[in-house]
């Protein structure tokens, strides 16, 4: 589209075109911390579905399993039924408040260390350095013409990326089915179409997001930076270039000649070279900074080499930065971490967690839901009594078959019996069996004297191996009249 090029004028573009980032390898405290966190998060992700957990013969033995087909969610010794989904909602609320907590205390720590985008990009960049060499070699390779060597390097890099991406997608589906079985099925072509599609999509996303989009995801696509920026305050820890200490920038030589003018920054550009998002932290806090702290490591190393104190770039709150710039004392970091705001967040977060644990420990695992026939609501029997009919659903949420007793109380002269059996003379209890981890539907009939109008009574259920009733349903006995 050469006609679009203005003659001589500057090229007009709606978006800044991407400047490719080739972050340099670095070592230091934060780099090692990131290694550690990467190892832990990736291990959790890849290994979790393979952990086994014995639940007896009637339930899957996978420790963490989202069984969509049967609508069950297993997490170690917790089993969640669809009607208990509020526990998952509670977990999400906790995750949300946890993010408030972390962000108000340590800023964008999520972005810098734990976000999958960061972790996988980091991993991919290591691969890139392994194949192509460090920053400068990568620059050279980029500008080099396509030859056998470049093709070989590109292909091997992409192959490794694809391999990692594939395992990432492959691990994901393991959470939704029995992992060993699914693995075999997957490789023998017997897995469900949706499994292959999911792996394909996730492989592509990992490959593209980690290999090519990288910091653009953070800068243009992700909503977190905007939300987190709103949640930070002047007491949140931020990666900050201490300009009052660093400026004027100048080489060691210049500084020696003119100690009054020059600050500590030797203008070596190491902080820019290592930055995975390709920004210059010395321009001040900015949305592109995911606070990965690698520039701190890079700068500390340089400061060590030139014999100046570390921490020219460092985690510091905006308040402390201001105080420090004025030369005032700054409080110890733990004090800024333990301020009312973070404590309140922590309190709410912990309260929700404890409340969930408490209700989890006390929830009933056997309940009954009874639906009264609506049409007709009662039936006149030949013998003069009135019969009401019900459909009861008995929910056995334990991984073992159970024998349960259904009983009625509060209805004088009433008889209870189940569909498919002859009506007994008198009976207010009956037992039935419910398969493990399932709902049994039972047709129930209750007959009682004709007189008395509409009357409230109760139906209860209990396991025959327990004394305590686990659920009570309040019902009405309907009669003619009124």
């Amino acid at each position: 589209m050469s006609s679009l090029k203005p003659a001589g004028g500057p090229e007009i573009q709606l978006y800044e075109s991407r400047k490719e980032v080739f972050p340099k390898a670095v070592d230091g405290f934060y780099r090692r911390l990131k290694w550690g966190i990467m190892a832990i998060t990736l291990a959790i992700y890849y290994i979790t579905p393979w952990i086994r957990w014995d639940r007896g013969p009637h339930a899957p033995d996978q420790a963490v399993l989202v069984d969509l087909a049967n609508r069950r969610f297993y997490m170690f010794n917790i089993e969640i039924w669809p009607h208990e989904f509020y526990y998952v909602a509670g977990l999400l609320v906790m995750a949300g408040i946890g993010l408030f907590l972390v962000t108000s205390a340590v800023g964008r720590a999520w972005c810098g260390y734990a976000c999958p985008q960061t972790v996988w990009t980091d991993l991919f960049q290591h691969v890139e350095r392994f194949v192509d060499g460090d920053r400068n070699a990568q620059f050279r390779l980029k500008d080099a013409p396509w030859g056998p060597q470049k093709i070989f390097k590109r292909l091997s890099k992409w192959a490794i990326w694809l391999f990692i991406a594939f395992w990432t997608g492959g691990a994901w589906i393991m959470y939704f089915a029995d992992a060993p079985t699914l693995t075999v099925d997957f490789w023998t072509g017997q897995a469900a179409m949706v499994a292959y599609a999911t792996v394909g999509i996730l492989t592509a996303i990992t490959f593209i997001f980690g290999g090519f989009m990288r910091e653009q995801v953070c800068v243009y696509m992700c909503p977190w930076p905007r939300i987190q920026t709103a949640m930070m305050d002047e007491k949140s820890l931020l990666v900050t270039y201490k300009d009052w200490r660093g400026e004027e920038r100048g080489s060691v030589k210049k500084a020696k000649a003119n100690p009054d003018i020059y600050g500590d920054c030797v203008d070596c550009n190491q902080c820019v070279a290592v930055c995975p998002t390709g920004i210059d932290i010395r321009e001040g806090p900015q949305i592109g900074c995911i606070t990965c702290a690698l520039c701190i490591d890079a700068c500390d190393k340089v400061m060590g080499q030139v014999g100046r104190p570390r921490g020219l770039i460092d985690y510091i709150t905006a308040d402390d930065a201001e105080a420090e710039a004025k030369g005032a004392e700054t409080p110890p970091t733990w004090k800024t971490l333990l301020r009312p705001r973070t404590l309140v967040y922590f309190g709410v977060w912990a309260a929700i967690g404890l409340a969930m644990l408490f209700t989890l420990g006390n929830r009933t695992r056997l309940d009954i839901a009874v639906q009264h026939d609506r049409n007709p609501v009662y039936v006149q029997l030949a013998g003069g009594e009135i019969r009401n009919s019900y459909t009861a659903k008995i929910r056995n949420m334990e991984s073992r078959p159970r024998e349960v007793e259904i009983a009625i109380s509060g209805l004088e002269g009433a008889t209870l019996w189940a569909g498919g059996t002859a009506r007994p003379d008198t009976q207010t209890k009956l037992t039935t069996k419910v398969a493990a981890d399932s709902v049994a539907k039972v047709r129930l009939f209750v007959a009682g004297p004709r007189e008395g109008g509409k009357q409230a009574y109760k139906m209860s259920v209990r396991g025959t191996d327990e004394d305590a009733v686990t659920d009570i349903e309040e019902l009405f006995f309907e009669r003619p009249g009124e």
Binding site: R71, A382, G383, A418, G420, K433, K441
Partner: protein
């Protein structure tokens, strides 16, 4: 106007040549992706019109070479479902209906099938709740435990197949009560006495002189069908007069009407309209409503219910499902 075309300096783009008060329009080319998308949609449209019904004609639409139609889709689904159910239908007709309760899974399937068939064929008279619409309507309530012609599975199936009072069918259930008043067999005073007697034996009225007179009349006119004690006779569909249920109402007016003019309730027969499996399903459904007779005793209650629950699961209704 085309002569006004020129290259715009700052953008380097050709103008379209129009000019209004010094405002000109750039002839910026369409973005390539946009154009290709447009072409792709045009091709898509052409292919679609060839393959699928598209152009409306006078009576229908062009058919498309694939011959697709939404009705056809539906038919396919229905056929597929029918095929799925075929084994159940076959198993149903193969066995003896009296042993249905021994196969809880099959019984459950039959009940569910009957439930749907009932909605199509039976609700018009018996009501959506199978309760005969209202007491005294003349359409029996199928939920209760009163049966004119018998309430076990076999009897219900027979009634379904052959109907009640179908004059064109020799095996139909048949009986006819005389119209005692209309045909001049009894006087209206006698009918009134008879009504008193019937209301006494059904527990609606206190003993009275009229009822005593009625008892004698009953003895000579009614007992032959309804039995000496008034408990009826199922072989001829003569209702039990002593229980709490009456098909046409137990009030004096209604009873007087019944004795004077008789009643002649008709139920169509379904043997020649529905296939045997559907009839059997209907029988199972009606039997399951609560009044069914000849059931396993309640002492076996536990096992039967458990099995039913298990069967339920296999049929795919309950099981791991949470429906409420």
């Amino acid at each position: 106007m085309a002569d006004n075309q020129r290259i715009d300096e700052p953008t380097g783009t050709q103008t379209v040549g129009h000019e209004w008060d010094g405002i000109e329009e750039l002839d910026t080319p369409m973005p390539r992706w946009w154009l290709w998308t447009l072409y792709a949609t045009i091709i898509w449209g052409i292919v679609y019109v060839i393959l699928y019904p598209a152009w409306p004609m006078v009576n229908s639409a062009t058919e498309g070479v694939l011959g697709w139609s939404s009705r056809g889709d539906l038919q396919q689904e229905l056929d597929a479902r029918d095929k799925e159910l075929e084994p159940i239908r076959q198993a149903l007709v193969a066995g003896d209906i009296n042993t249905l309760y021994e196969k809880p899974e099959l019984m459950q399937a039959a009940i569910e099938g009957g439930r749907s068939a009932f909605k199509v064929h039976c609700v018009q008279c018996h009501g959506t709740g199978a309760d005969g619409i209202r007491p005294g309507s003349g359409y029996p309530n199928l939920n209760d435990d009163e049966w004119l012609w018998g309430g076990d599975l076999e009897a219900i199936e027979y009634t379904l197949v052959h109907g009640i009072r179908n004059p064109d069918h020799s095996e139909t259930r048949f009986s006819q009560m005389p119209a005692f008043g209309r045909d001049g067999i009894l006087s209206s005073a006698e009918i009134s006495d008879l009504v008193s007697h019937i209301r006494v034996i059904s527990g609606e009225e206190e003993q009275s002189a009229s009822a005593t007179r009625g008892a004698a009349l009953y003895e000579s006119n009614c007992a032959v069908c309804h039995g000496a004690d008034g408990t009826g006779d199922r072989t001829q569909g003569a209702p039990n007069l002593t229980d709490a249920i009456s098909l046409y109402g137990i009030g004096r007016t209604s009873l007087t009407n019944t004795i004077t003019n008789s009643r002649y309730g008709v139920m169509p027969r379904w043997g020649h309209r529905l296939d045997p499996a559907t009839v059997r399903m209907l029988a199972a459904y009606v039997h399951s409503l609560g009044g069914g007779e000849a059931l396993p005793a309640a002492t076996n209650a536990d096992e039967a219910v458990a099995e039913e629950a298990a069967g339920d699961q296999a049929v795919g209704e309950g099981g791991k499902d949470v429906q409420s």
